[in-house]
Structure formats: structure tokens, C-alpha cells
């Protein structure tokens, strides 16, 4: 009997070692990429000069519960292939161009799903067809890009693809190890917390855990495999103020492996705190307009830094659009700071860099971690701000006028008319030369108020998280055509904020505010920063529904002057019937 157990254990270990590196996937990619780079050519047309294959394999589980009931618990595995095929040369190719290009229903382009089995023949067949379709599309892109450049008289000669040295980076594959029944139970139990809060109308708790493995191969000789886990619990709650304004909050706990999540007691306490804050807000009047100093603490400081600085230095080069109908929303909210290299963009006591290679920060997991980006380039620490001056941006292999080297921040972005890989935040870290304790920060806030003769200052602890549009909102967008594309403000509204009285120093919860006319200039109005780092992990959802795990580490910040107005959110009638659980 003992022998047998030993045998089983041995066999198991052997099996798991064998599975660490996926040779069939690489073999199929290698065989098809070699054949394509040498022989894929239509008569009198150019051959591709570069091809890369990226396979993204994901196994995930998603459990959702609400008010003590399980909505669903689903497990799934997917494997997708993304092709980057370029015709022309590094200085001018078919990329960085957006047009509406139709493609065959039988032979697709750019990406396709792959078999879940490691079946060489099936993999080869898919690789073959998608490469063929992408080649034909690239030829058409190139000719239409040339025509567009002529028609629009484009002068910009920035090259299209930067060179990198090839690299090999092989990490072992990761696996999903989740006890579904245990988590279903936990999530349902957590969702029951809201049975204590009669004023919260809708609530839900989602648990998500995935094991993602990425396999990359290109014709320049780069080859990599990396695995990453992502686990989170997200809590949403909705209520209405007594005058009908919607109030809602999303609370998230993000990490790599499920065992890195806070313990359930801690999560429960935070969910309760969220529910209590929402409940308190219901009876509050909307605040009046305000113009004065604002102190951003914790999550609010991190969202502030991500939304203005992080997005500002992301996606630094916009593609050329064939015409206005395809310009859409393609990353319009990103890259606004990118052309200010060498200039001061933030207060001079602040520095910032982005380093996706950090897995942890003071023992806390950073979900923005990745070793190799979506173009197979090893992620590097990118200096962004030195003494308040912009010294770099987040680069993919798409050069800008001033920079033509990738710092390994390229992330795949699916857009309505095609897809791109653009530089994006991984782990954004903000550091300060001079720091103050929390009470010193509050003192300073009050001092500024006194100078301006304002009766109170504002402290914001939570900002709204950006979410992609729902299915319904997307449908509505199609019918109402482009009107939905109205510019979004660059800074989201506060969800939890307080006012601090200048005289009594008492702190009081307030509700219903929104920032008006914020520009990136606000970064230069930061007058002080705290002495404690806040580690913020989150998943950033862009407008197109792409999701990116990210981390921001920042001290709290004090902005000298901001304009705040009442939120102006559309009031709805209160529910006609009482909540069925709390009737009476």
C-alpha cells in the first residue's frame, strides 16, 4: 500500500514537470512562422518582414452572488491566438493605421480561437489560415495607408516599428487550483452581509480567479512563456439618496493567488464599512459648490494618479485614421501628457516610474506584474517623472517622434475597428522628496482654507472606478450613433468624501460631488504628499471592454485648489414598494 502511494506521487511529479513548458504549441508556431516568413507571398506583392504569434491561454472561474443567493458559478478555459504581421519595413509598414477592412468569413484575420488540446494538426491549420487572412488584410492596409497619407497630406515621418534585441524568457506554466464549492459558499455568505442594510437596494459580490499563460514567438528570434494568476473579489452596492440621486460604490480586493486575499473577517469588515458609509450618505443633502484645497487619501490618491498621470503617459502615439467614421474613441483619453518630454508636468518634489517586473511591494502583491509584454519584449522599469519633469512615457514597439525604443509596456488593445498594442501602466509608483504625516497634511489643508477664507476643506478617500459600458449602453450607442462619444471628464467623481471644519476640525461625511474643469495642469497644483504609501491593485476596463490588471503605489496628495460642483446626477423616483426583505 505504501509503495503504491509513493508511486502515484512520483508519477504526478513527473507529469507536472512535463507540463511546465508547452512544446507542442511552440512547435506548431515555429513550423508555421518559418513557412510563412519565407513563402507567404502573392505575386507582385511584398512578403511580410515580421510575424509574431502570441497565444493567450486562460482558465478561470467566476462566481457571483447577491443577497444570499448564488447568481452563477462558471468555469471556463479558452485559448486565443493573436497575430502581428507586418509588410513594408520598420520605418513604414501597414501598422498605425485604422480603416474599415472587410474580411472573409471563412479565413479571419488578427486573432482566432485555438484548440484547448495540444493537437499539432489543429494548431497548424488555425495558424495557417489566420496568417493567410492577416497577410491579405495587411496588404490592403498598406495600400490604403499610402493613399490616405497622400490624400491627407500627412508629413509625419515617424517610423512604425522599433527594433529590439531578441530574447528568450521561459517561466513555468501556472494552473488554477480552486475549490469551487468552498468559494461559492464564501461568496454567498459574504453577500448576505447586505441583509443588514435596508437602505441598500441592489448589491452583488463577484469572485474571479484565473490562471493565464502566454506563449510568444516571432521571426526576430524572440521566444517567451509566462504565467500569471489573477484573483479578485468585487463588491458593488447601489442605493438612492432621499432625494432620488443614485449612490453606488465598488469595492475590490485584487491579488495573484487566492491565498493572498485578505481573510474573510477583514473582507466582511470592509464590506460592512462600505455599506454603512452608503447608508449614511442616503440622508445627506448634496454639498454646495466648492473651490479650494482637496486632500486625496488612499484609493482616491491612487485613482487620481492613474487617471491623470498614468493614462496621460500611456498610448503615446495615435494611429492614422482613414476617415472620421473610424476614429471612434480609440484611446482618446490617453497620452495627453506624452508630448511634454523634458517639461515640468507635476510638482517638482514628485518622481514617478512604472515597473511591471515588481511582483510585490512591502509584502503586498502587485497585480500589474508581468515579465514580458504583449510584443514579447521583456518589461523594464520606465522612468516617467524626475523632479516633476516628464522624462519618459510608457512605450510599446510603436515609436513616437522622440522615442523609438520599447520599454516593454506594450499591451494588446482591441478596438472597434481593429486592434493595436500600446504602452500602458503596469505598476505605477509615485515617490516624493518631502513627505508629511496624515495630521500634518490635514493641518496644511486647514491652513490653505484659512488663507482663502473658506469655512471647510475637503478630503476624498474613494473615487469612482471606470467601468466599460454595459451591453445595453453599447446597443444604445449604436442607435444614437456617435452622440455617446461625448468627452468624459479626465477625473472621475468622489464616492466617499468628507469636509473638515476649519474652526472645530470636525470631520463630516458629504455626498454628491463632482470635479469641474479638471485638466492635467492639476498635477502641478499638488502642494504636499503624505509619508505613507498606499498600494492600490485594480483592473482597469477601457471603453472597448479590454481589461488590464494594474497597480499604483502612491502617497496621499494635497491639491491646492480644485473646483467642485454638485454631481448633477439624474434623480430617479424612490422605490414605490418597500424592500421585500425589510418590509414591516
Amino acid at each position: 500500500m505504501r509503495n503504491r502511494i509513493f508511486f502515484v506521487v512520483l508519477f504526478f511529479t513527473f507529469l507536472s514537470i512535463g507540463k511546465l513548458y508547452n512544446n507542442i504549441l511552440f512547435m506548431a508556431m515555429d513550423d508555421e512562422i518559418r513557412r510563412s516568413i519565407t513563402r507567404l507571398q502573392i505575386e507582385n506583392q511584398k512578403k511580410p518582414y515580421y510575424i509574431s504569434y502570441r497565444i493567450e491561454e486562460r482558465e478561470y472561474i467566476k462566481i457571483k452572488a447577491s443577497f444570499g443567493g448564488l447568481l452563477y458559478s462558471n468555469r471556463n478555459r479558452i485559448r486565443d491566438l493573436y497575430v502581428d504581421l507586418r509588410i513594408g519595413d520598420y520605418s513604414f509598414d501597414n501598422s498605425n493605421f485604422v480603416a474599415r477592412i472587410s474580411h472573409s468569413r471563412i479565413i479571419g484575420s488578427d486573432y482566432t480561437s485555438l484548440p484547448l488540446d495540444d493537437n499539432y494538426d489543429a494548431l497548424r491549420n488555425d495558424l495557417w489560415l489566420i496568417t493567410d487572412g492577416t497577410y491579405k488584410k495587411a496588404l490592403e492596409e498598406l495600400s490604403r495607408k499610402k493613399a490616405t497619407i497622400q490624400n491627407q497630406q500627412v508629413k509625419d515621418q515617424t517610423s512604425d516599428f522599433s527594433k529590439v534585441t531578441s530574447n528568450t524568457a521561459m517561466e513555468p506554466a501556472v494552473k488554477l487550483a480552486i475549490d469551487e464549492a468552498v468559494w461559492e459558499n464564501t461568496i454567498v455568505t459574504l453577500s448576505r452581509i447586505f441583509q443588514k442594510y435596508p437602505d441598500i437596494q441592489e448589491s452583488s459580490i463577484t469572485f474571479y480567479s484565473r490562471a493565464g499563460n502566454q506563449y510568444f514567438l516571432d521571426t526576430e528570434g524572440s521566444k517567451s512563456q509566462q504565467g500569471a494568476l489573477l484573483t479578485y473579489i468585487e463588491v458593488t452596492a447601489k442605493a438612492q439618496s432621499k432625494d432620488g440621486n443614485p449612490i453606488e460604490d465598488i469595492l475590490g480586493f485584487y491579488c495573484h493567488a487566492p491565498d493572498e486575499l485578505p481573510d474573510i473577517a477583514t473582507i466582511s469588515r470592509k464590506v460592512e464599512a462600505m455599506a454603512e458609509t452608503l447608508t449614511l450618505q442616503i440622508v445627506l443633502e448634496e454639498t454646495e459648490d466648492y473651490s479650494g484645497p482637496v486632500l486625496f487619501v488612499g484609493q482616491a490618491a491612487a485613482e487620481f494618479m492613474f487617471q491623470i498621470l498614468g493614462k496621460g503617459v500611456s498610448d503615446p502615439r495615435k494611429p492614422l485614421f482613414e476617415n472620421e467614421t473610424v476614429s471612434g474613441s480609440a484611446g482618446r483619453d490617453m497620452g495627453v501628457l506624452a508630448n511634454r518630454i523634458g517639461r515640468r508636468v507635476i510638482s517638482s518634489f514628485l518622481h514617478a516610474y512604472d515597473d511591471p517586473t515588481l511582483k510585490k511591494w512591502n509584502g503586498k502583491p502587485l497585480v500589474g506584474y508581468f515579465a514580458v509584454d504583449d510584443q514579447g519584449v521583456p518589461a523594464k522599469k520606465a522612468e516617467i517623472i524626475k523632479d516633476g519633469k516628464l522624462c519618459g512615457v510608457l512605450m510599446s514597439r510603436t515609436p513616437t517622434k522622440k522615442i523609438d525604443i520599447s520599454n516593454g509596456h506594450g499591451r494588446f488593445k482591441d478596438e472597434r475597428f481593429g486592434s493595436r498594442v500600446c504602452g500602458m501602466v503596469g505598476n505605477l509608483i509615485i515617490e516624493a522628496d518631502e513627505t508629511k504625516s496624515h495630521s500634518e497634511m490635514k493641518e496644511m489643508l486647514i491652513d490653505i482654507c484659512r488663507n482663502y477664507e473658506i469655512p471647510y476643506g475637503i478630503i476624498v478617500t474613494r473615487l469612482e472606478i471606470t467601468r466599460p459600458r454595459t451591453l445595453r449602453e453599447r446597443y444604445m450607442g449604436y442607435f444614437t450613433s456617435m452622440t455617446s462619444g461625448s468627452e468624459k471628464p479626465i477625473l472621475s467623481s468622489p464616492v466617499v468624501a468628507y469636509k473638515i471644519d476649519v474652526e472645530t476640525k470636525t470631520v463630516e461625511l458629504i455626498r454628491g460631488l463632482t470635479f469641474s474643469s479638471v485638466t492635467p495642469r492639476v498635477l502641478r497644483d499638488i502642494v504636499a504628499s503624505g509619508n505613507e504609501d498606499f498600494v492600490y491593485n485594480f483592473v482597469f476596463w477601457d471603453e472597448e471592454g479590454n481589461a488590464y490588471p494594474m497597480s499604483v503605489i502612491t502617497p496621499s496628495i494635497l491639491v491646492e485648489e480644485m473646483d467642485i460642483e454638485t454631481s448633477g446626477k439624474k434623480a430617479r423616483k424612490l422605490p414605490i414598494l418597500n424592500h421585500p426583505y425589510f418590509k414591516n
Partner: protein, 562 residues
């Protein structure tokens, strides 16, 4: 009288089932309790009150397995539960569902999907019901105000019938039904079937799929209806595609459908079907392209079924007779001859089986809780009636159980099982002879036989032209001079409905069923069509628009590695 007796009987039967099925009766009970509580208040809300509430819950389990080239591509097993709440304010005479004539209101057709808890926790269920009822009631009030305002400034509609018909309450509880299939075994089978295509490198994509669905629908309304209906089905699909040398995309598919695992095909049957598809696809890619043609043709049974579904069925859906945006091809033609007198058409969702085959369009109750009924639409060529939801139309005040939808959508009248019958039947050989005789008469060198049709489009709107287009997949040319039949490609059938129907002159006796899904305003729903082959003295085909793509440049790696 008969109807009253029927529902009375149901109630007796159901009360016994209820007591034994405590677990799931819990869902109906929660629905009923919350509905009653809501109605108590909402029916007294001033100045606009609710006069009707209807809750429908969709409990789904979907298993989907697909494979290509011997490899597994999808392996899903998902459960979801959705809720629809319908609130009517005002009165049956005029309520919030009344059409607003200021332009087509697309917003009404945007799905609004509301997922709720899948376990039967009553507290969570009732919270979901409460929240959605509140939302729908407020929407109904808003819309009703707009409708009232509009009526004061616009001319009276041509159809002045009320907005909601009366209905008899129904009690019915199906026994619980589960999916039962050895998925481990089937996963391997599906993979194995899919590997057959590996020997044909000219086939660019192919797929074998297995789908199993369990759907339990719960319905309650304030008129006292209380329904639980269960449906489980299994489907095996075969699909393959290629491209002709000129870039034309060619594809063929086949599906086996059954309500029970025992009804699924044997391995031999699946393999035979795969072989047929491969043979046909091979013939198609080498086939000549047909030039635009007007002349005699035969639509073989399944193809004819699809043809009638698209061209005829959608035009007899009740709400299209009332809407001011619709073309109303048949609205004023009740009692008139619209088809040759040997053709009769009914829609009968109450039949579950035909010639030993299960019928996908079968259901017991529609999505307004009305029992499905057999409806005579055309009798001996004369239009007798329409497919009706509870939206009354002039001359047809009552529902005949055809109000259907996919979750998250609003109900409209839809087809269930369209059944075309003929009193002028001949054998397939005689039908073929008739085709050749007619070709000779019209001095045409050949006629066409349509064996397989993928589906089609039809525009029933008033703004557009009343034309249709159906997409044939497998067509043969039949020569009058005795040359062998020849597979051809690249044609679509086009025409206008009334003209096309007049040209039907004979039918086969080879009734066959087509099981499919139909998409329209109220979403995707299961439908079927049963028809014999039909002979049409004149049909118009036009050239298929084709992609500008070329076949793959490099040969298939499957061919190369061998």
C-alpha cells in the same frame, strides 16, 4: 366551452404535482408572493396604476462541446437564470405597450437582460423581483404619459382595437427534467468525428458540435396563471467550409435534433452525414457559377420549409398587421385567396414529433402564459387568420398562444411549427418530370433543384421594398436533354412574396421537418417548419455577391506534413 373544461382539468392535475415538488414550487411561490405584494400597491398607485403584472423566469443550463481536426475547442457547462417582468399600466383598451408613432422606437428592442440568483433562495429572489418590478413600473408610467400626449396630436390609427386581450388563467407544472448524457464519452466522440475532415486539406474550417440545453420557464401573472414548463434538447451539428478558386465562400451544415439522448444519431449516421457534406462541398467548389436566371425550379422539402418560414410565416405574425410601420402584405386579405387552392398552412406548436423526429418549435405555453394552439392560417389557398400574441388586431381579438421571446426582450407574435400541406401531391419523380416539361414549354435548357437553403432575409417594413432573398447552399441544374444533373453555385433566390406564391403549381408527397432558430425583434427562438417539396413554375435567382478574397496562398499544413 371546450377551453374552459381544459383549464379546469389542468388545475386538478397540477395541484397534486405541486405538493410533491416543494423544491421548485418554491420559485413559483416566491414569484407569486412578490407579485401579489407589488400588485396590491401598484394597482392603487395614483394617477397611473398597474392593471397587470407578469413574471417570467428562465432557468438555463447550457452544455456546449465543439471540436475540429480531432481537437477540443470548446467545453462549456454554464448555468444562468434570467428574469423578465412585464408591467401594464392604464387599461386593456389603452396601455403602455401601445405603439408610439413618432418613428420606429429602436430602444424598445434593445435587450435588457436581467440575471438573477440561480439557487432558489427566496430572499434573494424576491429582492430581484422587487427591484425589476419597480424599474418596469416606472418605465411603463413614463411611456404611458407619452402615449396619452401623442394621442391628442395625431390622427386615429387605422386599427383601433385595444392593446391587450383577455385570457383564461392557467395552472400547469411540468415534472422536473435534467440533461442526461455521458459528456465524457461524447467529448471523445465529437473529437473523433471532427478528425475525419483531416483527410481533406481543401476544407479550411470544419466543426462538430454537441449542444445540450435544459430550460425551465416559470411564469406567473396577476390573472392567476402559474406555469412551470421544462424543455431539454440535444443537438449535434456538422459544419464544413471551403473557398472556390475564385474566392467564393462555400459552406454546408447539418444538425441532428432530439429531446432525448436516445434520439441522438448513431455513430454511423453522423459519419454518413459528414461524408455527404464532404462530397457535396467537393462538388460545389468545382461547380460552375449560375448566371442570373428566371425559370422553373423545385424546392426540396426542407428548403421549401425555410422558404415558407421566411417569405410567408413572418408576414402572418399578428403584430405586423397592426403596426403602422409594417408593409402589411396580408392585413386586408383575410378571406381572400393568397396561395394556390391546393395549399393549406397551419402553425401548430403543440406537436412534439413528426415522422419520428422531434420538433424544435414545440412548446406548451407561450411567453404570455397562453397555451400553444394550432392555428389555421391558410385553408385551400384562402387566408384565414394570423399568429397571435395577446395584442388584439382588428377581427382577431384573442391570442392563439404565439406570443414568444428570448429572455430580456418584449413579446411579439412569432412562428412555432409552420406546417405546409398540399392536396396536389405527386412523387418526387413526377415532380421532376413536371419540372422538365415546364422547362421545355418555357424553352429553357434546364431547371433548378434547391436541396438546401441556409436561411434568408425578408423585409416586412413599410419603408423598404417588400422583397425577400434566400440563400441556397446546394443547388443542381436539371437538363431537359437528359444530361446528368449538375451541381452549381453562386445564386441567391430573390423575389416578391405574392408573386412567388402564385407560381407554385405542384408539390411532392415527401413531407420533411426543418428544425432551426429564428431571430427577430423578440430575439432568437426555436422554430420548425414542415413542408413537402414544391414545384414553382418561375423563380428568380441572382448572382451571389462574393468576397474579394483569394483562397489561401500556401497549401494546407495538413497536406504538407503528410
Amino acid at each position: 366551452m371546450k377551453k374552459l373544461f381544459f383549464s379546469g382539468l389542468c388545475m386538478i392535475l397540477c395541484s397534486t404535482i405541486f405538493s410533491t415538488e416543494t423544491g421548485t414550487a418554491g420559485v413559483l411561490e416566491s414569484m407569486e408572493l412578490e407579485m401579489e405584494r407589488s400588485y396590491e400597491t401598484l394597482s392603487k398607485t395614483k394617477p397611473i396604476s398597474a392593471y397587470f403584472l407578469h413574471y417570467e423566469i428562465w432557468d438555463e443550463r447550457n452544455v456546449s462541446i465543439t471540436a475540429s481536426w480531432g481537437a477540443l475547442y470548446r467545453n462549456l457547462d454554464k448555468k444562468h437564470r434570467y428574469l423578465d417582468v412585464d408591467v401594464r399600466v392604464g387599461s386593456k383598451k389603452l396601455d403602455n405597450t401601445h405603439e408610439i408613432r413618432g418613428g420606429v422606437n429602436y430602444m424598445d428592442w434593445i435587450p435588457s437582460i436581467n440575471e438573477i440568483n440561480g439557487d432558489d433562495d427566496p430572499a434573494a429572489l424576491r429582492v430581484a423581483l422587487w427591484a425589476e418590478t419597480d424599474r418596469q413600473f416606472k418605465k411603463a408610467q413614463e411611456k404611458y404619459i407619452r402615449i396619452q400626449a401623442e394621442r391628442q396630436v395625431k390622427v386615429t390609427e387605422s386599427d383601433t382595437s385595444p392593446d391587450f386581450s383577455p385570457s383564461t388563467p392557467v395552472m400547469h407544472v411540468d415534472e422536473a427534467k435534467e440533461i442526461r448524457l455521458d459528456f465524457g464519452l461524447w467529448r471523445e466522440k465529437v473529437k473523433e468525428f471532427s478528425s475525419i475532415f483531416k483527410d481533406y486539406p481543401w476544407i479550411y474550417s470544419s466543426q462538430i458540435s454537441l449542444r445540450a440545453q435544459q430550460l425551465t420557464k416559470y411564469q406567473v401573472n396577476t390573472e392567476g396563471s402559474k406555469i412551470r414548463e421544462n424543455r431539454v434538447f440535444y443537438r449535434i451539428g456538422v459544419y464544413a467550409s471551403t473557398m472556390a478558386d475564385d474566392g467564393m465562400e462555400l459552406y454546408l451544415s447539418y444538425s441532428f435534433f432530439s429531446f432525448a439522448p436516445e434520439g441522438l444519431p448513431s455513430d454511423e449516421e453522423v459519419i454518413a452525414q459528414i461524408d455527404t457534406i464532404i462530397t457535396h462541398l467537393d462538388a460545389l467548389r468545382k461547380a460552375p457559377i449560375v448566371e442570373p436566371y428566371i425559370g422553373p425550379a423545385i424546392l426540396v422539402n426542407k428548403a421549401s420549409g425555410v422558404f415558407f418560414h421566411e417569405i410567408f410565416g413572418h408576414r402572418v405574425e399578428g403584430h405586423r398587421q397592426k403596426s403602422e410601420f409594417e408593409g402589411q402584405t396580408f392585413t386586408k386579405k383575410v378571406g381572400e385567396k393568397i396561395l394556390p387552392d391546393f395549399i393549406s398552412i397551419r402553425d401548430d406548436p403543440t406537436i412534439a414529433e413528426f415522422n419520428g423526429k422531434d420538433i424544435n418549435g414545440y412548446y406548451k405555453f407561450d411567453d404570455e402564459g397562453v397555451p400553444a394552439q394550432k392555428v389555421t392560417i391558410v385553408e385551400s389557398g384562402v387566408l384565414k387568420g394570423f399568429l397571435k400574441s395577446r395584442l388584439p388586431i382588428e377581427g382577431f381579438p384573442e391570442s392563439n398562444g404565439h406570443g414568444r421571446r428570448q429572455y430580456g426582450r418584449k413579446v411579439v407574435s412569432r412562428q412555432g411549427v409552420l406546417f405546409v400541406t398540399s392536396s396536389n401531391e405527386v412523387s418526387m419523380n413526377q415532380l421532376r418530370e413536371a419540372l422538365i416539361t415546364e422547362c421545355k414549354k418555357q424553352k429553357k435548357p434546364f431547371g433548378l433543384i434547391f436541396y438546401d437553403i441556409s436561411g434568408g432575409f425578408t423585409s416586412t417594413g413599410r419603408g423598404g421594398t417588400q422583397t425577400f432573398k434566400v440563400i441556397p447552399l446546394f443547388v443542381k441544374r436539371i437538363y431537359v436533354d437528359g444530361r446528368p444533373d449538375e451541381v452549381v453555385r453562386g445564386v441567391d433566390i430573390v423575389g416578391t412574396p405574392l408573386l412567388s406564391f402564385a407560381k407554385i403549381s405542384l408539390t411532392g408527397n415527401d413531407y420533411e421537418i426543418f428544425n432551426g432558430s429564428c431571430g427577430a425583434e423578440s430575439g432568437m427562438i426555436p422554430v420548425s417548419a414542415i413542408s413537402p417539396s414544391i414545384f414553382v413554375s418561375e423563380i428568380e435567382v441572382e448572382k451571389k455577391s462574393k468576397s474579394q478574397d483569394k483562397p489561401p496562398i500556401l497549401p494546407s499544413p495538413l497536406g504538407e506534413v503528410k
